[in-house]
């Protein structure tokens, strides 16, 4: 087993026992990046020199006899919308090209304080606006399970990096599903914490009242570990909640007996792919077999969630993105005769079309005469959606649904149809609107042999229950141990992607639809390779 294949907790143990060095670990991951990222393109920036320097310093620390910290030596990737001191941070936007933050985001500070080594900044939909990472201002990222498919988005770079072993863990941000949906599509674990649990300081805002940073990991234990490090009050973020920290690892018991799981009927409606339906159904059966109690629940305002989201998020974004004007940092349109022209041209040239679309939407809905009809109305619906959850949680401990209605689609398939793209988030946006936590874990394979994610939603600040249910499911299944083929199917993969199919990939094909999607007990489905 290669070092880069290990989970964070396994790696940390080896490091603590001095079986492996930190520099050696970081070099292994950097080597994997060099090997496969030409095909996957998960990274916008690889911070090779900084990472190696920090790794050497950490090795010296341990050599001096200092104790290993919680994430000692774990190579972690950071979505490129979180500020890293001295490392370019772009939000995958031309308008921020060249911006090197003079400060670290709180999460970065905390990760590094726990010994993690940041190896690079990952690709994303520009300013986190999108569900496929195709809206990156630089290049699209590809799904390691099939390079002809998207990794999901907007944290597609982070999820692809973890899926392809280009990072042991990563951080993403989730505004409407941007951690959970790509985690599902890439077959990894992704958690969106309760709004206010993780500091947003240093996270470049998309929609401030919805944004939340979350871990993207190979398994649930790692997820709990990373969450434990990044969660907690930060005086620099007024919306971060002062609560005493919780030991998420402690609650990881493989036992769901008596746990009441709600199955919201609105999340199993039309538009769901059969493969996704089958995998989710099988997962529910697994949980039930393990002793969980399933109950039908209703979240009646769910049908307004997407519309509400597409009013609130663009409104906030239109204001949050106003600061990119070429005056102080980032891109500045050259050769303008005066300041006004410069600001206008900078924005016209610097932003991509989806970002512009949302700025226009948000500007419109906040305008005098429309504010009440749109924004204010959306805030009211938001309250109703939150109440739906409150009511559902009166009779169950968590809710389970598919994370995404479909598996990863092909590159270019939805780029011309923004509405189809927006539908990717239909099961995830509600958690952001209500501020509740949600996790996506691998639960099988669907169409084209692509991974399916199971979403578990919980009460405010009840990440512990989510992690426990996720952990129990994971212990009973083997989906999280599947490794992607890192190659393209014959129909959609680009030449370059196929050409750089990695050596470590097995010879198994990934063309047959998943016959074993309903097999919940760990048999490798077609398209996956079992490394366990």
């Amino acid at each position: 087993m290669e070092l880069y294949e290990l989970a964070a907790y396994e790696l940390r143990e080896k490091i603590e026992r001095r079986e492996v060095g930190i520099e050696e670990t970081v070099r292994a991951v950097l080597g994997k990046i060099a090997e496969v990222d030409g095909a996957v393109r998960a990274y916008v920036t690889v911070a090779r020199e900084q990472a190696l320097a920090k790794a050497r310093a950490a090795d010296e620390r341990l050599a001096r006899g200092e104790p290993a910290r919680l994430l000692e030596g774990v190579p972690i990737a950071i979505k490129d919308n979180m500020c890293t001191r001295g490392v370019e941070t772009t939000c995958a936007s031309k308008i921020l090209k060249g911006f090197v933050p003079p400060y670290d985001a709180t999460v970065v500070e905390r990760l590094e304080g726990a010994g993690a080594i940041i190896v690079g900044k990952t690709n994303m939909d520009e300013f986190a606006m999108g569900s496929s990472t195709e809206n990156s201002g630089f290049f699209p990222t590809r799904n390691p399970w099939d390079l002809g498919h998207v990794p999901g988005g907007s944290s597609g770079g982070s999820t692809a990096a973890v899926a392809a072993d280009e990072a042991v863990a990563a951080l993403g941000s989730d505004t409407g599903g941007s951690v959970r949906q790509p985690a599902a599509l890439c077959g990894v674990v992704g958690l969106k914490p309760t709004y206010g649990l993780v500091s947003r300081y240093g996270l470049i805002a998309f929609a401030s009242s919805l944004d939340q940073i979350g871990p993207i990991t190979k398994d649930v234990r790692d997820c709990a570990m990373v969450l434990g490090v990044i969660a907690g009050h930060d005086p620099r973020d007024s919306t971060s909640v002062p609560r005493k920290p919780c030991d998420y690892l402690k609650g990881l018991v493989p036992d769901v007996r008596g746990v009441r799981i709600g199955v919201p009927k609105e999340y199993f409606g039309e538009g769901m792919a059969p493969g996704v339906m089958a995998a989710t159904g099988a997962a529910l059966k697994t949980l039930q077999d393990m002793g969980a109690i399933l109950a039908d629940v209703s979240l009646p305002h769910s049908e307004y969630a997407l519309a509400t989201y597409y009013i609130v998020a663009p409104a906030e974004a239109s204001s949050n993105l106003a600061r990119y004007d070429g005056v102080r940092y980032g891109y500045r349109a050259p050769g303008c005769p005066d300041s006004v022209t410069m600001m206008t041209k900078t924005r016209s040239e610097g932003f991509g079309s989806e970002v512009k679309r949302r700025i226009m939407l948000g500007t419109y809905t906040l305008s005098a005469g429309y504010y009440e009809a749109y924004y204010l109305k959306a805030l009211k619906v938001r309250t109703l959606i939150t109440r739906d959850f409150d009511r559902a949680f009166e009779k169950c401990d968590c809710l389970v649904s598919p994370t995404s209605p479909t598996v990863a689609f092909r590159l270019g398939e939805r780029t011309d149809d923004p509405l189809a793209m927006y539908l990717s988030d239909i099961y995830t946006v509600t958690a952001n609107l209500a501020g509740i936590p949600g996790i996506s874990i691998p639960c099988g394979f669907g169409e084209d042999g692509m991974p399916v994610g199971l979403q578990i939603l919980g009460k405010h600040y009840d990440e512990a229950t989510l992690l426990r249910v996720a952990y129990a499911f994971e212990q009973a299944t083997d989906f999280h141990r599947m490794k992607p083929a890192l190659r393209a199917t014959s129909t959609s993969g680009s030449a370059s992607a196929s050409a750089s199919a990695p050596a470590s990939a097995s010879t198994s094909t990934s063309t047959s639809p998943s016959a074993s999607a309903s097999d919940c007990c760990g048999r490798a489905p077609a398209g996956g390779e079992r490394h366990a």
Partner: protein, 516 residues
């Protein structure tokens, strides 16, 4: 008394007499104008004198090198978040209470969106529909006695913008612009009055009163020249006796209290003339052109900016419990209005003196310290404070806190006048020296030999000399021309270099001449 003596520093104060001239001040010229009455509301922005900015820890100090008081937060770098400065909220509460407002238990911040290079986020964090406080009032003393009660509509917190310098004058025509973000994020308190002010003079008095209150509270230094106090006005006119307000016009670019007054006077007249001529007033914003002394139309209301206000998602609502409000209330000082009343009652001062003395807390404190040390007539102290002291401070640009004459020294000097050690006339010389050097009156008198000649025989000798040298004047006095005695007294004073007591000289002269 000239304007400048009425306040101890800077601009003229509450009780200042209005002697504005020029095109702005011709009220009463036109007969039809007197049929109309203006209704004026003022929107005042004051920079709070907190040590750090509203949402970050940067210093608020004025006059620092450009962009030296900045950080990622006030520069609006990507990813930063605001955190409310508690002191600024406390200053807001303090001001709100002094203006008799109701402090909201629940208020929130909103974003006001507009693009300008000196606004780093291209939105300003302000308060829109739920301000910090509302529903207050202050009593403004007006000319001819009495007071105007001006209602305060709202008081809210917001952040200041930076400063732009456009090479070429305006932003659209400039070849480049320079930005200084030192002021960006400095806490501002916006104080909005109802349109209760009835004349430009009252507007002036309102501003003076407001500034006085803010300085008493120690929440702002209110220096218009440094931009720490700014004012926009709205004015409408209506036929006298009408209860319906006319169409308001907003006035901008009012850079001094005087400019506010002049622009309002100009605008009141312009609107009255327009209405008198049967024209309709159109809602618009007008710019005060200081050099031409006229208001110029900037933009019509329908072209007004849409600021797309919405609740600031990066901040939680401001919840202020009554305990905090009570705590702040308990620390409120005696305010100028109350102090003025007390000065009249307790020190027996005329309203005029009381108003001038209480406009600045420092001056009022100085006065009371001197009265306490002196023990004599408070009016005498008042005369010196608003007379000589104010004159010297204005002439030298000195703030009363830096004045080298301590209140006790003034009291000591007044005692020397009372016990005849120095004459009232010599006292002015003594005081000037005290002001310039910080010496006590004893020292000054001793060093300069200014002690009054107490020895009457010496004085009588000088009187004899003067009578001998001015026989014609002496004859005139003897002939009953009383006026001539003044001349002789003056001659004695000159010979003694002011060290004689004029009353004593007068008496000695009368005695000497009646003997002849």
């Amino acid at each position: 008394m000239p304007d400048e003596t009425l306040t101890m520093s800077g601009e003229a104060g509450t009780a200042r007499k209005h002697q504005t001239t020029g095109p702005g001040r011709r009220t009463g010229d036109a007969a039809d104008e007197s049929q109309f009455e203006p209704a004026i509301g003022l929107e005042v922005h004051v920079e709070l004198s907190t040590e750090s900015k509203l949402f970050c820890g940067c210093s608020t100090a004025f006059n620092a090198p450009p962009n030296s008081h900045t950080c990622p937060v006030c520069l609006g770098l990507p990813g930063v978040l605001p955190v409310v400065n508690r002191k600024a909220v406390e200053f807001g509460i303090r001001t709100a209470l002094a203006l008799n407002c109701e402090v909201a238990g629940f208020s929130k911040f909103d974003r006001k969106n507009y693009f300008y290079p000196d606004l780093p986020k291209n939105y300003q964090i302000s308060q829109y529909d739920l301000p910090l406080a509302s529903g207050g009032h202050i009593d403004v003393p007006v000319d001819g006695g009495g007071a105007r009660c001006v209602r305060i509509k709202r008081v809210h917190l917001e952040e200041d913008a930076g400063k732009s310098v456009h090479e070429g004058g305006t932003i659209t025509g400039s070849s480049f612009s320079l930005e200084d973000y030192n002021r960006t994020g400095v806490p501002l308190l916006e104080i909005v009055s109802e349109p209760d002010i009835r004349s430009p003079e009252e507007a002036y008095a309102y501003l003076s009163m407001l500034r006085s209150v803010l300085r008493y509270l120690d929440v702002s230094d209110c220096k218009m020249e440094e931009g720490s106090l700014r004012c926009d006005a709205n004015i409408s006119v209506r036929p006298k006796g009408s209860f319906v307000l006319g169409t308001p016009i907003e006035l901008k670019n009012l850079n001094s209290f005087r400019a506010v007054e002049k622009a309002l006077a100009y605008e009141a007249r312009r609107q009255a003339e327009a209405l008198g001529a049967g024209e309709r007033i159109v809602r618009e914003t007008r710019h005060w052109d200081e050099s031409r002394q006229v208001t110029v139309s900037m933009r019509r209301k329908e072209e007004a900016d849409d600021y797309r206000y919405f609740p600031e998602p990066d901040l939680v609502p401001l919840e202020i419990d009554e305990g905090w409000v009570d705590e702040v209330r308990a620390t409120l000082p005696e305010l100028p209005g109350a102090r003025r009343e007390r000065f009249m009652r307790q020190h027996g001062l005329p309203a005029y003196d009381a108003a001038i003395l209480t406009e600045s807390k420092d001056v009022a404190d100085y006065f009371e310290a001197a009265v306490a040390a002196y023990g004599g007539d408070a009016k005498a102290v008042s005369n010196w404070v608003i007379g000589e002291l104010a004159r010297l401070m204005n002439a030298t640009g000195t703030d009363i806190r830096d004045a080298r004459v301590a209140p006790t020294a003034l009291a000591a000097m007044l005692n020397m006048i009372d016990d005849g050690t120095i004459s009232g006339k010599i006292a002015k010389t003594v005081f000037e020296e005290m002001f310039a050097t910080g010496k006590t009156p004893d020292q000054v008198v001793a060093e300069k030999g200014l002690v009054q000649i107490a020895d009457e025989s010496e004085l009588a000798r000088i009187v004899d000399e003067v009578v001998a040298e001015n026989s014609r004047a002496a004859d005139e006095v003897r002939a009953g021309k009383d006026r001539a005695i003044g001349f002789l007294v003056g001659q004695v004073m000159r010979k003694t270099r002011g060290r004689a007591n004029p009353q004593a000289v007068n008496r000695l002269l009368q005695e000497r001449l009646s003997r002849d």
